[in-house]
């Protein structure tokens, strides 16, 4: 398959995760996902900066957030995530584009990251879906790679 052309439908972006590298399974019943990369800035302003702040890039970090619906019988859902959080499991995560199908689109790019669940919340209102939201803080390198 070739790289996808044009604006991508956000429903095509899927999150796969597991406790072993290259053993990731899709996270079920996801309604929204996002990944955020941050670069801290080092202030190197001095008296000779001419009155303007000068910066250099410092520590880089990333986090990923997911929201979804709760299902007791999900293969990889809230019940698995809370187990991982309680056990302090390191998670291996693929944040990828599956296109219209269910297979990651070869030629596109994806994130391949590792991290720990820093927050996981289950929500239940009145006559509504039971949902969950989770944040994973990335540890180590953020890998952006071509899907092969």
């Amino acid at each position: 398959m070739a790289q996808t052309t044009g604006i991508i439908n956000s429903s095509s972006i899927r999150v796969f995760l597991g406790t072993t590298d290259d053993s990731e399974v899709v996270l079920d019943h996801v309604t929204e996902c996002s990944i955020s990369m941050t670069t801290d800035m080092r202030d190197i302003t001095t008296k000779t900066s001419g009155g303007y702040r000068e910066l250099l890039p410092g520590l880089k970090s990333a986090s990923m957030s997911v929201s979804g619906l709760f299902a007791e019988d999900a293969t990889n859902g809230y019940n698995q995530l809370i187990d991982h959080q309680l056990a302090g499991d390191k998670l291996f995560v693929i944040f990828t584009n599956t296109g219209a199908g269910v297979t990651a689109n070869i030629g596109d790019e994806q994130f391949d990251i590792e991290g720990y669940i820093s927050s996981l919340e289950q929500t239940a209102g009145v006559e509504d879906n039971v949902g969950f939201s989770m944040t994973i803080e990335v540890t180590g390198t953020v890998v952006r790679e071509v899907i092969s």
Binding site: F16, D22, E24, V25, V26, T75, I94, S148
Partner: protein, 51 residues
């Protein structure tokens, strides 16, 4: 990609029986394929009894 597990898989925190359909990453699918978990076991032909 969606794959059908052809023989019980019990590794890396996953425990699936044969016949389970799972949506896995490309790399995991390749790993399962290499381990023979996606290939259907060949049917053994019953030997005809010669009379």
């Amino acid at each position: 990609m969606k794959v059908t597990i052809q023989k019980p898989y019990n590794k890396g925190g996953w425990k699936w029986p044969a016949g389970k359909v799972v949506d896995v990453s490309n790399k995991f699918a390749a790993k399962l394929k290499k381990g023979g978990y996606l290939d259907k076991p060949e049917k053994k032909e019953s030997k005809k009894i010669k009379e």
